[in-house]
Amino acid sequence: MAHSMITRRMFLKSMVTAAYILALPSTSSGMDSVYVFVIDSSRCIGCGACVRACRAENEVPEEKYRTWVERYVVWMENGVEKVYVESPEGGEHGFDEVPRPPNLLRAYFVPKLCMHCQKPPCVKVCPVNATWLNEEGFVLIDKDHCIGCRYCIQACPYGARYFDEEKHVVDKCTWCYHRVKRGLKPACVTVCPTGARIFGKPDDEVIAKRLKDPTIKILKPELNTKPKVFYQQIGWEVW
């Protein structure tokens, strides 16, 4: 493995460049170099294999989650759609039966993870540049730089970040950067038995086909974070 040494000056310089990239409209960051994650909620069976694989691959501490699965149950009551959301232990040990409400409209599982936003609010608030958005669209954390102020956790609207009580730094999903750079898929994508999670560049054949689905959604678009995890077959109730 090549450990290219860089000086602080270069580091700062690259941060300035990154700041420019952040400030400029998205046209400047070439779309082809950036990865995206597509999740088809209709394929997800809530087995929790992804959560377990993530925990093993990334040594995620107990009761913290880099990825988790939520179950949405929507039913009609007096003309109002009622929503029940649950995620027992982050869906790690699968889901059990819940009482079926009368007038059930829809029920499905939604895997969640870090959105690796193109305009990440967490990167903007980090006081020491310990987290950044790199050229391939990964938002990473330098754990040897993080001062543990937890400001980024507060800023993340998706609840993707957690505080590692053992290392006293913030951690989160990296889309398995260490695997992707070695030509592998992220651990959760590798183990998904139904292909609910797929990962790649927007011009990959499978990704491109799925991205054309008109039901595709991003979460919390009103916050203008430009997330790069796209969801198929989810209702208005998912955010």
Binding site: R8, F11, V128, I147, A155, G159
Partner: protein, 396 residues
């Protein structure tokens, strides 16, 4: 584990505990004290008697404002990274710079206003260690001619102006919370404004409290005019802070939008701090309004009660802002409960320690730089200018 109501993201917890309540609290107190100092410096000469006391009381707060932050950090040894590799798009990194501006202007201000005293002590002090400290503090210049003192005064005015700006910027620590767009409680325009007014109220209350207590300690009479003037400002500051806070809550209650959880926890998890804010503010406002007519000890007692209750009210406001907002999960479908642990780095005892630290430091600062000129010193120096200004102020 704390009670969870509704659905919350599995990683959700109260990440910033009671220490981060203390941090904006101390910072807002600094704003209030500096503002009172600026008021006395710029247009209320009747506060002259408390001027040095305010300086002596502000420095400990500025120094200990860093304590809760350092205690809260996961890796405090890397804290200086904020200066080494700063990210200027982060409010927190910018506050590092504002904080230093505040600290240095305050130190400058103190040096220029205590310079005359320092020079006299350096000449007359019996204790050799203390004398050495004073000699170092004089920077080797013993010139206390009228001309140089006048120059000092002009410099103090400039420094006060810079410090006032820095202190208000510091109080916009609320931006630290205000920029978090994902949290409905923090993501409001009123927050920074109500934060500043809360700080002004707490700062002026603390000045009243410290003044009354210091006068007791130094066995001198607390001037009614000083207390009255600060109380006059305190009334309006508190009114504004309380009003804005209430407007915010009422707006949430009325709009009933996606931030419903905010009002729901206000009515459940935050009942006690919310009641403290409402009842405490009402009480303090009433006492301030009618305390003015009292005389002597009764007035001092009333103002002491008011000052303490305002300090508690503002602390409850900060609690609501910092803890309350974090109880709401970003899924906006539920909230969690929070009670701080007693022990540990982020526990209640640590918070109480941090809150008491400024008073301990204050004792040290006051030991070296007594806020009230001692009587026995008066004959050894001539201070015509000062007498005149005090006399003028009293005549007005």
């Amino acid at each position: 584990m704390h009670a969870i109501e509704g659905y919350v993201y599995p990683n959700h917890e109260v990440f910033w505990g009671v220490l981060i309540v203390v941090y904006p609290y101390l910072v807002s107190i600094i704003t209030g004290m500096v503002t009172i100092y600026a008021i006395s410096e710029f247009w209320r000469k009747d506060l002259k008697d408390a001027e040095k006391l305010i300086l002596v009381a502000t420095l400990p707060f500025v120094l200990s404002a860093l304590l809760p932050l350092l205690l809260d950090l996961g890796q405090p040894q890397r804290a200086f990274e904020i200066y080494v590799t700063p990210n200027f798009s982060s409010v927190m990194a910018v506050f590092g710079i504002v904080y230093l501006t505040e600290l240095f202007t305050l130190l400058g201000e103190m040096w220029f206003s205590f310079r005359r005293d320092i020079v006299i002590y350096a000449k007359n002090e019996g204790n050799s260690i203390k004398r050495l400290v004073y000699r170092l503090l004089t920077l080797g210049v013993y010139d206390i001619s009228e001309k140089s003192l006048k120059l000092d005064h002009r410099i103090i005015k400039v420094l006060t102006f810079i410090e006032l700006i820095a202190a208000w910027c510091l109080s916009y620590v609320s931006f630290l919370f205000g920029v978090v767009k994902s949290n409905p409680w923090w993501n409001t325009t009123i927050l920074p404004v109500s934060f500043v007014f809360g700080g002004l109220a707490a700062g002026s209350a603390l000045v009243i409290l410290v003044y009354i207590i210091a006068c007791k300690i130094y066995r001198r009479e607390a001037r009614e005019k000083v207390v009255d003037t600060i109380a006059y400002y305190l009334f309006f500051f508190l009114l504004a802070a309380f009003g804005l806070e209430m407007i915010n809550t009422i707006l949430y209650a009325y709009k009933e939008d996606v931030a419903w959880a905010v009002i729901k926890i206000t009515a459940s998890e935050l009942v006690i701090p919310q009641m403290i804010v409402v009842i405490g503010s009402m009480e303090a406002l009433l006492f301030l309004r009618f305390g003015r007519n009292l005389r002597g000890t009764a007035k001092q007692a009333i103002y002491t009660i008011v000052a303490i209750s305002v300090l508690i009210v503002v602390f409850a406001m900060r609690w609501n802002m910092v803890i309350g907002a974090q109880l709401v999960d970003y899924s906006l479908r539920g909230f969690i409960g929070y009670s701080p642990p007693l022990f540990g780095k982020e526990g209640l005892l640590a918070a109480i320690g941090v809150l008491l630290a400024p008073f301990a430091i204050m004792a040290i600062v006051a030991y070296f730089l007594p806020p009230f000129p001692e009587r026995k010193m008066a004959p050894s120096v001539t201070q015509p200018e000062k007498h005149i200004s005090v006399d003028l102020a009293e005549r007005v």
